[in-house]
Symmetry: C2
Subunit: 504 residues, 2 copies
């Protein structure tokens, strides 16, 4: 009658369950009482005769003998790889013990601050996949509720860093740039990286794909080049070109951060402490030594006041310093989108217009990129304070940045037939005359997503007005692009109801 006496034969079930280990057990399992295990939800899987710690997995009960038979235990792809023993290996299964660090999570829920030992215990259990996603959510909510103390952020960052690999570029100066996000357009990285790399400074920039926004840097770069590069190839490209603009997901540098983000994102927790730990652990794992951080401030941006930006800056600086990463913060204008396009193709067009010094290039994107690139160039001890921005402008205007971008694109794999803007186009017009007084970033981002971005790369918005512009009733505010009629109609009716641009 006991739940864990007889052995089962291990079998790989070729289902990718992402961050959660799943164990598949036939309902008529011969070696255990499925109903009892079921109640525990999580099970512990042990290799017979091996002294390794049992692996924990969520239990799924299978009614199809072609997936698992009554004397088999199936494991999802990631779980099978983690257990690391061949098909057919005898394994036993029992109800999972509660991970000991869940008691620490519980204490945090009761308001107790956590020290490094506590954060380490939690990080190790999460990294070993001993937490269900619901348990990770409880930890994140506990961290987010009154926000973490500065030293808790440091402890969490350190603990996260310890669970993964770290790149070592064997150079003293490895530059990086990050924007905390929230501003549509704002594709400065794709201009900054070629400028900095053309100067010869190492800037191995990896970026995320959009999750809730209409485009991430990786989505926009993908319009022009391959972005999913195997770690060895990426390394080689960076050493040759001094820079890259790639998707950060393949390197799996900060696996714990990826996991926490995947749970945190749908909850929209919005905790500054968690954000700092996430960004800095990732940058440190990537081997960066100097980071320029863009914090846009505006009424519909992530950070809404200068006071909040200052507080955030200090947390970044404190944690960065303790862990050997020099962080410099640029507080920037987040009152309106940067550039005209919102969506991968339209943003890539803006980026290339700036790099190619075209007269119609969006000047706000150009100016912001030069300002930020200048601050990064001043990480170079040979660049005098105050000379960075001029140097960046020289590199851009001389065509060296465009040449470097072409070279990076070729190295990553140029896309020979880049997609164009979505062919279904509608103009969204001003309902009345007046002056542009505000942009609702969330509304604009949602409109671009409804139009199909980023899955349809040509979908999105092309802005035609800026803050302070006078407009007539009926004057176009932006053009909506889509690729399918369903998305087009959906986005258009949303924009007609609320264009996301305030006229005062």
């Amino acid at each position: 009658m006991s739940a864990n006496v007889s052995a089962l034969r291990l079998r790989a079930v070729r289902i990718d369950t992402d961050s959660e280990n799943v164990a598949y057990l036939a309902r008529g399992c011969t070696a255990c009482r499925v109903d009892v295990l079921r109640a525990a939800q999580k099970v512990s899987v042990s290799v017979v005769g091996a002294s390794v710690e049992p692996m924990l997995a969520v239990l799924n009960v299978v009614d199809d003998p072609s997936i698992v038979g009554p004397d088999e235990l199936g494991l999802s792809e990631q779980a099978f790889a983690m257990l690391g023993v061949p098909t057919g290996t005898p394994v036993t299964i029992g109800p999972a013990p509660r991970p000991a660090s869940l008691d620490i999570v519980r204490r945090k829920l009761q308001g107790e601050p956590l020290d490094l030992g506590a954060m380490r215990a939690i990080a190790r259990d999460i990294a070993a996949r001993r937490y269900a996603r619901s348990e990770i959510a409880a930890f994140l909510v506990a961290c987010g509720r009154e926000d973490l103390e500065r030293d808790e952020v440091l402890a969490l960052t350190r603990a996260m860093l310890e669970t993964g690999e770290r790149l070592d570029w064997r150079e003293p100066l490895v530059a990086d740039k990050h924007c905390i996000g929230g501003i549509p357009g704002n594709r400065t990285s794709m201009i900054i990286v070629p400028i900095v790399a053309a100067h010869g400074m190492l800037i191995p920039k990896t970026s995320s794909r959009a999750i809730t926004s209409p485009a991430g840097t990786a989505d926009t770069m993908q319009v022009l080049a391959e972005v999913e590069l195997a770690p060895a190839r990426l390394h080689e490209i960076v050493l040759r070109e001094r820079g890259c603009i790639a998707w950060g997901g393949t390197a799996r540098l900060a696996p714990l951060d990826d996991l926490l983000i995947s749970v945190e994102r749908p909850l929209a927790l919005d905790s500054p402490g968690l954000m700092v730990a996430s960004i800095l652990s990732k940058k440190l794992a990537a081997g960066s030594t100097r980071l320029l951080l863009d914090i846009p401030v505006g009424p519909s941006a992530k950070v809404r006041s200068l006071a909040d930006a200052q507080r955030l800056r200090k947390t970044f600086e404190h944690v960065g310093r303790a862990l050997g990463l020099h962080v410099e913060v640029a507080v920037t204008d987040g009152t309106q989108p940067i550039g005209r396009g919102i969506g991968p193709v339209l943003e890539a067009r803006d980026v290339m217009a700036v790099l190619e010094n075209r007269p119609d290039a969006p000047q706000d994107l150009r100016a912001k990129s030069l300002r930020l690139a200048g601050r990064i160039l001043e990480f170079d001890p040979d660049v005098r304070g105050g000379d960075g921005e001029g140097l960046a402008r020289d590199i851009l205007e001389s065509g060296r940045a465009a040449a470097k971008m072409a070279s990076i694109i070729d190295a990553q794999g140029r896309r020979l037939e880049p997609p164009g803007p979505g062919r279904l186009v509608a103009e969204i017009v001003a309902p009345r005359a007046g002056r542009i007084v505000g942009f609702d970033h969330l509304r604009l981002a949602r409109a671009a997503r409804q139009a199909g971005a980023p899955a349809s790369p040509g979908a999105g918005l092309d802005l035609l007005v800026r803050l302070g512009d006078p407009v007539r009733a009926g004057q176009p505010l932006y053009r909506l692009h889509a690729e399918t009629s369903g998305e087009f109609d959906h986005a258009r009716s949303g924009c007609d109801a609320d264009a996301g641009i305030a006229i005062g």
Copy 2:
């Protein structure tokens, strides 16, 4: 390129994923970009041409064409049943929209109290499986952090009640009994139900299985009889016998409560508000009209002070009254286990000893059961105030309670060869002389679980001492029973390190 243009053919994947809908998509899916959907984690599944609301599901990516092919969309058992259309139906898939009520959860996380409309929106989305388990966890943590206001508990209870079915017994008096738990042994329900049913009062008692404890009432009753009864059969038994002692899981009366508990339990959230909503929504769904609630108070019980017990009592009364359930609270002694056995077989033995009026029956279990049964009997308008306990004693001593129990056992399905106590036995002894001054309920429960309870029904502890007893060094405190040597050794070494009984 869009994520949701072409249709896929629906297929049932015979995997039971419990409370979470899972969609299975081949990595090489022909109709959508799996990487884009992947990033969203949850997908929305729509039946082509149907106007029903899309179903949300967690995405698993499949690398085995025998599970799902490139032009197929697989759904787990519960999700397939929920969608309610046949295999082969054309469906489309896209990134899931965020359930609107998650914004309410977010407001709750920021400290905002929730009204009935808010609780309803959340309850409906959770009941429609629109939340991932991590999102449910965030809601529960938000509710638990500073605990809910009384009227929030009422709103949550009402919202939970509205998501499920309600039984109607078509009788004005339907009695029920519940203990908030936390005390080892304490198997009073199995004595109270036969007494009350023998009096003729309707008491359709359903119970849970143990999750974190060594035995639930359903586990203990299962030693003697079947407890998993189809709803129609259970109904018939109750009408004939006036009572039952069954597992509550088959009726699926409060599906939302089951779901919340399954997420809450591993987190050990311990929120009084959530507990009240859970218990009362379940009792109301079961059609109860009068509830006697046992709140044990003691230093290692769930409720540790009389003040906490009073506060909890008032919340129970307030919510019960508003929803038409008369709740009566008995605050009882939770300083030590009730009865001798801890574990299904040992507890069932205690219960039968009391019912059969055996001289060696545990007197504490007998006395407590009579006191509680007496209060329930006084729900009968024909029983005078103060006469209940005497009446209960008459029913017990006359053998009518034992006869009713035999009759209920036969009706549910008598177990012909009930298991005996675990054959591996060790005595755990007092390390020194003194007097018994305290019981650590959590430690004793853990020891019984380590010994194998409830999966091994004969496993557990048999207590030999009570509070205040003098003991010599080396005198046995309890007997440990187990069925397998691994569990036996594990439990014994734990008990040797900490017996869970304090000697002063």
